[in-house]
């Protein structure tokens, strides 16, 4: 797998404000990467630098083998971008807008217009963009980003304010592209919906990359406890179950469910004890730490030394 985006020691400051203090990562073909971080963590700035809209103060960026700020445009033709709060010229129709952008990318207008159907905007192409709802604008935004089968797709908060059905369409389209080899980088606040989809997660905090890896890798690094829920048939009304080591904290739910936060190295041992006890265990549920919890963990960790 070859890297489509290469970022090395990139720093960007606006005057005294350091928007990005140091980030290095490579994105590979066909990867779907979630870039997460609170507002002002440097996500948008990173994307703008990848587009060549702003120049890094230090460090190097290469997108599809080109320096995006150098003024060469062959890479940009293979790049799709959906900005946060995308805006279009209000007086044009959806169809005219899409045709305009396809001409700028020197792609066949017909193919670009077909994308409007893909994102489910086929019925409204002849309406002016200022009559569009937020969701329809976002669909149009995605349609223009898909023009010319981009090899790199940068999506800045693509699903904020969208209804669940539209989110589904969104991710379907994106995942199809990623399967065909497009690198997809998307930033979002909606961590739960990224959890199932992103192969890799990059966490930014105050302009610094604080974590980078697949969800499993991050879980391993974070060593966050896995939540184990065990439904026990004859749980004594008070006192802990016999199989539970005495010092282990636990919670009772509904009288017959025991919930334990198990550290990664205790997990298997605990399960063995619980099932070895005989008939007591009726059901068992393992909940690995969610992206939300991982995110919170890495942010706490990043804040601690300061």
């Amino acid at each position: 797998m070859s890297a489509t985006v290469h970022i090395a020691d990139v720093v960007k400051h606006y005057g005294k404000v350091e928007a990005v203090k140091g980030a290095s990562f490579d994105l590979a073909e066909g990867e779907m990467v979630a870039l997460i971080g609170h507002n002002g963590a440097g996500k948008t700035t990173l994307m703008k630098m990848m587009l060549g809209l702003i120049r890094p103060s230090r460090g190097t960026i290469a997108v599809l083998g080109e320096n995006p700020a150098a003024g060469e445009f062959s890479a940009r033709r293979r790049l799709g971008y959906l900005p946060e709060n995308v805006a279009f010229d209000a007086a044009l129709t959806g169809r005219e807008t899409q045709a305009f952008y396809s001409r700028l990318k020197r792609e066949p207008v017909k193919d670009a217009l077909a994308l409007l159907d893909v994102v489910g905007l086929g019925h409204a192409v002849k309406r002016r963009v200022d009559t569009y709802s937020k969701g329809m604008r976002q669909r149009l935004g995605l349609a223009q980003a898909l023009i010319g089968r981009p090899r790199v797709l940068l999506l800045d908060e693509p699903t904020t304010g969208l209804d669940p059905e539209l989110r589904q369409t969104f991710y379907d389209v994106i995942q199809k592209l990623a399967a065909e080899g497009t690198t997809v980088l998307l930033s979002s606040h909606a961590l739960t919906e990224l959890e199932e989809r992103a192969g890799r997660v990059i966490i930014m905090n105050r302009g610094l990359k604080v974590a980078d890896g697949t969800l499993d890798e991050l879980r391993r690094i974070a060593r966050l406890p896995t939540r184990i829920r065990i439904k026990v048939a004859d749980l004594p009304p008070s006192g802990s179950p016999a199989w539970l080591p005495t010092a282990t904290p636990y919670r009772r739910i509904n009288g017959h469910i025991v919930e334990i936060d198990a550290a990664p190295d205790e997990k298997l041992d605990l399960l063995r004890r619980a099932t070895a006890d005989g008939s007591a265990v009726q059901d068992l549920e393992l909940i690995p730490p969610s992206l939300d919890e991982l995110y919170a963990h890495f942010l706490r960790q990043a804040e601690r030394p300061q």
Partner: protein, 276 residues
């Protein structure tokens, strides 16, 4: 090249949709026609050719109106698109910033040229229909008036872009443009006149005066139209000035072209340095 045309075409399309084209054309045609009919009414008896009178009054009108329309269209071009967020997306496409600016310029200029040609052309047609005589020189003077009006429009579109590329928000751009319009179209001439009266010809030579006139595109336009053709300058009351003026037609046109190119180049520079 392709990107230029694409962007220019979109600007034109937008201007048509927003009824800018319609409004500008109707405004110019309406004023031109009323000036033509009011202006030609008293001239029959003294034997003046109505066309020359129309040229004098139309070019005086142009000095006020065309810069205003041009600035209205152009002051929003960069800062407005940035505020609305459309510029961010546009610049992520394979287009250079100078292409964006020049494409917009071509589009806006086309809109202005269309409105001017049609609006003022209506006046010419009205004159023909009412049976005014049209000779070669009169026709040339009229064509030169339309051409230089478009050029004056180009000057102020370029100035509007420069303002739009430099300021932080749309309100500032609008305010600055109104200030510039007042300054160049109204105040400059009054100040110059006051200066000349005070000076009584002691310090300000003809050369300095010429330079001062070239420093204002509106004055360069006025001199070009009111002194460029003998008949016209007679009616405009500028024959005296025309005789003493050291400024050739070429110098005036060059001044107008420079007044377009320099702000446009500065706007491009300011725009390409700007961070989004």
């Amino acid at each position: 090249m392709n990107a230029l045309i694409t962007i220019a075409a979109k600007e034109i399309q937008q201007a048509i949709r927003n009824r800018w084209v319609l409004a500008a054309t109707l405004l110019l045609a309406g004023l031109a026609l009323s000036l033509t009919f009011l202006g030609s009414a008293p001239t029959g008896t003294v034997g003046a050719r109505a066309l020359d009178v129309v040229i004098v009054s139309l070019s005086s009108l142009t000095i006020f109106l065309i810069p205003l329309i041009a600035l209205l269209i152009s002051h929003d071009a960069i800062v407005g698109d940035m505020e609305r967020g459309t510029m961010l997306l546009l610049l992520s496409y394979p287009v250079a910033r100078w292409q964006v600016l020049l494409g917009k310029f071509l589009g806006h200029l086309a809109v202005l040229a269309f409105a001017t040609c049609l609006g003022y052309g209506a006046a010419a047609v009205a004159l023909l229909i009412t049976g005014s005589s049209f000779d070669g020189e009169g026709f040339a003077a009229f064509a030169a008036m339309i051409g230089s009006s478009v050029l004056l429009g180009a000057v102020f579109v370029a100035i509007g872009y420069l303002v739009s590329a430099v300021v932080r928000d749309r309100g500032t751009a609008a305010g600055l443009c109104i200030g510039l319009w007042l300054m160049l179209v109204l105040i400059y001439d009054m100040a110059l006149l006051g200066l000349l009266v005070l000076d009584q010809g002691r310090n300000i030579s003809g050369g300095v005066l010429s330079a001062l006139l070239l420093l204002n595109p509106a004055d360069a336009y006025r001199l070009f139209n009111l002194t460029g053709f003998a008949n016209v300058s007679l009616f405009s009351g500028m024959a005296g000035l025309a005789a003493s003026s050291t400024l050739s037609v070429q110098a005036l046109l060059t001044a107008l072209v420079l007044w377009t190119l320099v702000p446009l180049a500065c706007a491009t520079l300011a725009f390409s340095r700007r961070e989004l």
